[in-house]
Amino acid sequence: MSQGLDIDHLAKLARLNLTADEKKLYTQQLSQVLTYFEALAKADLPPTADVAMVVDESALRSDEPGKPLGAEAVTKIAPASHDGQISVPRVVDDES
């Protein structure tokens, strides 16, 4: 099953740059782990998954506005900010 491991594709989906050495290492390690996962493919399993909590006592809170952290606290921890807003590299090109 692990033949489908396309490390370049995965790295792109996960937004990670990998060096050639990392690609080689992760391909080898992940293939080994995926081989271990083959027990799942062979197992006799129930037709559907029951994903409910083991004790279902949780509840949604009432939909009331809360008190947010505020711009000052948020921009204080941001890597870059300007005029109370978080700044990032330009998203839209000038030409477009």
């Binding site: 937004r15 390690q29 799942l40 493919a41 399993l45 004790v55 948020v74 921890i77």
Partner: protein, 485 residues
Amino acid sequence: MAQELYQLSATEISQRLAKGELTSRALVEALMKRYHALNKKVGAFTHLDEADVLAQADASDARRKAGKTLGPLDGIPVGIKDNIAVKGQPLTCSSKMLAPLVSPYDAHVIESLRAAGAILYGRLNMDEFAMGSSTENSAVQKTFNPWDLARIPGGSSGGSAAALSAGLVPLALGSDTGGSIRQPASHCGIIGLKPTYGLISRYGLVAFASSLDQIGPMARTIDDCVLLLNALASPDARDMTCFNKNHRQQLPEVAAKSLRIGVPKGVLGKGVGAEVAAATQAAIDFYKSQGCTIIEVDLPSSDLAVPTYYVVATAEASSNLARYDGVRYGHRSANAKTPIEMMTNSRSEGFGPEVKRRILLGTFVLSAGYADAYYVRALRARSKIRAEHLAALEKVDMLLTPTVPTPAFKAGEKISDPLQLYLEDIFTIPANLAGLPALSVPCGKSGHLPVGFHLVGAPLSENKLLAAARLFEAAHGFANQLPTL
């Protein structure tokens, strides 16, 4: 023999504070002295704000003097794993990704500890983003096992376990996704409890795998574990999985004769070290001698637990860790011209090897063409494992196994073999997959290294597990044991 302050259990400290024989300030000064003497050697804490600790201790002493003490935890230090938010303190998850982050808010458990008067005492080292079983994945520093400084303390809550067994702090918080409280507790000879999924709010816990993560207490005695658990378990609407009723209860006395203890078939066989098997068997024999009924139980899908866990946990991690994009907080790459470059470079520079490995694995098991074969099958296997455990726990009160198959290994021994490390969690993972409470209790040594046994109970049976563990603790000398450092 006069006991040093660092040797006292939290319960003993609480009694001395109440009687006026000790002040919180004298206690934290003694602990900080020990921190300066030993933390470099053990590597448990990554940060300790001494001025803040002293201010908290003075405030506690002032409350006591004014007759306004907040309860049994008032004035007692609690070490905090570095993935639980404390306002004004670093929140790094031992990752370069969050190295610059100071938390702007308190986690629910921290609010609860403040309300109980506890001293929030330092930040404890961990495997990066709680991914690991040895604390060797910390990007900050190594932590060593106080029982043998050449060995790992376990992980991911390795800083918490090492701090307790080194006598650096009497209580600590950990978090447990697949064994991250119980495995280091076993390796360091202390007590670690992973509560029922939903008992303790995760608001303010940095998410790893949300359907598995729980915060839990770590301590050197059962009474101390109960003291801390009672302060942590309370309803919180900010975590929608948190129970909305209060389940705090006092520890009941358990009549040994009424306990039925299940031992999974063949559990002390393949892969379990001889001395770990012997210590676990001795615990089983102890319960038998107390009049408990020992019943062999069948959990046929146990072999599926580790693969199921590593599919579910990495899938959830790949999704949860998508938030680290360099935009709002944490590390932002200095080398980026476009938003995509900023995200990709920030993540590549910020995450360590194990985190990248798990994100890639989680991305794979969720990707088009593979999700049905891996993720969906893992969810179905998880249902089966849970059903088998719940069925077994209708026949018995709790299951008893070793916590970890072998004692703490040497630093560096397994770091290059992720699969070997994943097998460290073979006994602890099912409780996370099934949402059940589970406890590691010290039960002896393998050579000079601590060994723990593991109890798993039905949902919300924490008190029964703790009472059973207390029976064992009372008859043996393993509580509050500290190695010579």
